[in-house]
């Protein structure tokens, strides 16, 4: 909701097993960003944002201004 460029899907793997295979899912939850980058398990917001910025090739904040 925060940014129009971002879309998010929740996918039930038991109904779509080919997706689990496609992304080689070993454990859940697994988060895929732009088909290529992935995060496993639940991650803190800050780590999630870092991963998104990395996925789109943007510079991640240097000094960790994102308070944990």
């Amino acid at each position: 909701m925060a940014n129009e460029y971002i879309t998010a899907d929740m996918i039930e793997l038991s109904e779509f097993p080919h997706i689990a295979v496609k992304h080689n899912v070993q454990t859940v939850p697994k988060i895929i960003i732009n088909e290529e980058h992935s995060l496993t398990g639940s991650v803190p917001d800050t780590e999630f944002i870092q991963a998104i910025l990395k996925a789109i090739g943007n510079k991640t904040p240097e000094n960790n201004i994102l308070k944990t």
Partner: protein, 141 residues
Amino acid sequence: MAIIPEKDRKKLTDIFKSLSNDVRVIFFTQEFECEHCKMTRNLLEEVAALSEKISLETYDFVKEAELAKKYGIDRIPATALLGDRDYGIRFYGVPAGYEFTSLIEDIMDISKRDAGLPEEILNELSKIDKPVHIQVLISPT
């Protein structure tokens, strides 16, 4: 037989009393409904019945292929949650277990038109200027 137990329906009805803006639930299924499509439709119908602010629109994935394409739906059952615009939020598969909690929380946030994220996170998110497609892969609990 109802999917959502009576006491949970009562709880949800209460929670939904605080809904301010309308939430549109757009659901894609097909004429010859698979088990999961039927279950999802029943579940969404029960949820939508708990508040006047929640409306459910059900479409046939095959017959309304153009509409499905517009919403970027390529598999069913698929549920899209919209407010006054499309936020790009989709649920594929039956939103049961933990996913149900996410569905309800999303409905709450969409109604508020605010995801309740902290300032610093919003600042970082506002810098994003390229498409970001997030897929959260889960298993039923």
